[in-house]
Subunit: 274 residues, 2 copies
């Protein structure tokens, strides 16, 4: 099944645009529960209530073992996106693509960095295509520093992020699912100015937007709305800290499991009320 | 000891600018020798004859375990650079920085991707500074696709790679070793046009250039020369396939160990004859 169709189905079945980020900060975990066990519990708690999960490799000592187990536990109920932001060239890109999107990978998608250019993304796309998986390309990230290079204005008036968007649209053009979206998604911060989100949607009409920064980083529901299609498709909203550690900065409460579920349900309601 | 000073010392002691890339392609390995064992042997073979090693994470199934063992085996004789091209924001960048450049890391340096901007690099720099390590920032990569974004021309006439170079220079300005180079290096393809290499050296006078693409990818000794200081400093030349599988496409010869050493000695002579 096409990656975008699988994702659309999960969004429809759960009524949720949420992608639960798994960033298990060691000092924030409940007493006596390790990162792997905590994330495993979270997967089970959000099953049927969120569209996807997104383990953040950096929080697992950059080791793929536990994230892989989490993806196996989550799929097929929850689409699993490896948030690794990999990017390299030639046979190295092929090796990464094989690891994250090849036949033996339990993940459905991988985040990738476009700085090295089109030829650095093609090996990822080849594996994604062959195995019904997807990639999410960084286009306009949610941090302040995204202005440093992504916002630079080019000769002719376009910004760097617009050129990346054109490439993303182009890469996905030949692989659109029956839901109308391609298997090449884009990371677009919900913190970006509304006109930037609108411009990016214009340039990438068939692209699923993964929109970090909602809530915790000040991203707005208006940005999410600007990116959604009329029938509420084409966007996935990742949330990590706000969803999985909603009690912070208070200490971990006894009912932390219920708190996580409640937080996700609140987020689902907010996003549904668009 | 400052990272750049350690590297300068290794270059001086070995008379070599070579950084031996460890990219163990499974189908290229000698019969009955796994990736970890092969790379371990290569480390021992090049000890005292090269300045550095550079395990490529992608070829270890993106798993840090074996690369870490190789770095432990190599250091302090060989400076160990983790070629992971990581790049992320906020607490995620901090987590990656801790993994690769923190107190427990056996590596001396890490390659990083600047696409997410200055604030995405600062956590790496903070760890590098604290622990006498270094980072190498992608500025102009050796692949054809590097033209797609890195070569874009900005309003005002500069290229994207020049803006990245300015940031690299700026980040390293406050941390220059007694050898005259900073702990913030730059990846600059030896395949780049000579005038680009010269311009980048102009913009980054205190930056160690890691220059992939020499030999196998068509990079020239002239590019290396253009980046070297008068006393032959400031450049490290990585080579992977050409150095560690010099017999390709012929099958693995019985004397493969001697072939690797001979290839490295030839490279050292070529680079010394500048």
């Amino acid at each position: 099944m096409h990656f975008a169709d699988r994702l659309a189905e999960r969004i429809q079945k759960t009524g949720s645009l949420a992608c639960v980020g798994l960033d298990p900060r060691p000092d924030w975990l409940p007493d006596g529960i390790g990162a792997a066990a905590f994330c495993g519990e979270v997967v089970d708690l959000v099953r049927g209530k969120a569209a996807a999960i997104k383990p953040q490799l950096a929080f697992f000592d950059d080791d793929a073992g536990v994230p892989r187990e989490l993806a196996r536990r989550a799929e097929p109920d929850l689409v699993s996106i490896a948030d690794a932001k990999r990017g390299d060239i030639g046979s190295t890109a092929e090796a990464y693509a094989e690891t994250w999107l090849g036949a033996r990978s339990p993940f459905s998608a991988l985040t990738v960095n476009p700085f090295l250019g089109r030829d650095s993304l093609e090996p990822f796309l080849a594996q994604a295509r062959e195995h019904g998986r997807g990639i999410f390309v960084l286009v306009k990230t949610s941090n302040a520093g995204s202005a440093d290079f992504q916002d630079l204005r080019l000769e002719g008036g376009e910004h760097v992020f617009e050129r990346v968007a054109r490439l993303v649209h182009d890469l996905g053009a030949n692989n659109v699912g029956s839901c109308g979206y391609s298997n090449v998604g884009a990371v677009v911060g919900a913190t970006a100015p509304l006109e930037v989100v609108k411009r990016l949607r214009e340039l990438m009409p068939r692209t699923i937007f993964l929109m970090p920064g909602y809530g915790a980083q000040g991203g707005s529901a208006a940005s999410i709305r600007a990116a959604l299609s009329k029938d509420g498709q084409g966007v996935l909203v990742p949330s990590s800290r706000a969803l999985t550690f909603p009690w912070r900065p208070s200490p971990v409460p006894a009912d932390w499991r219920a708190r996580i579920v409640r937080e996700l349900e609140t987020m689902n309601r907010e996003l549904a009320a668009r």
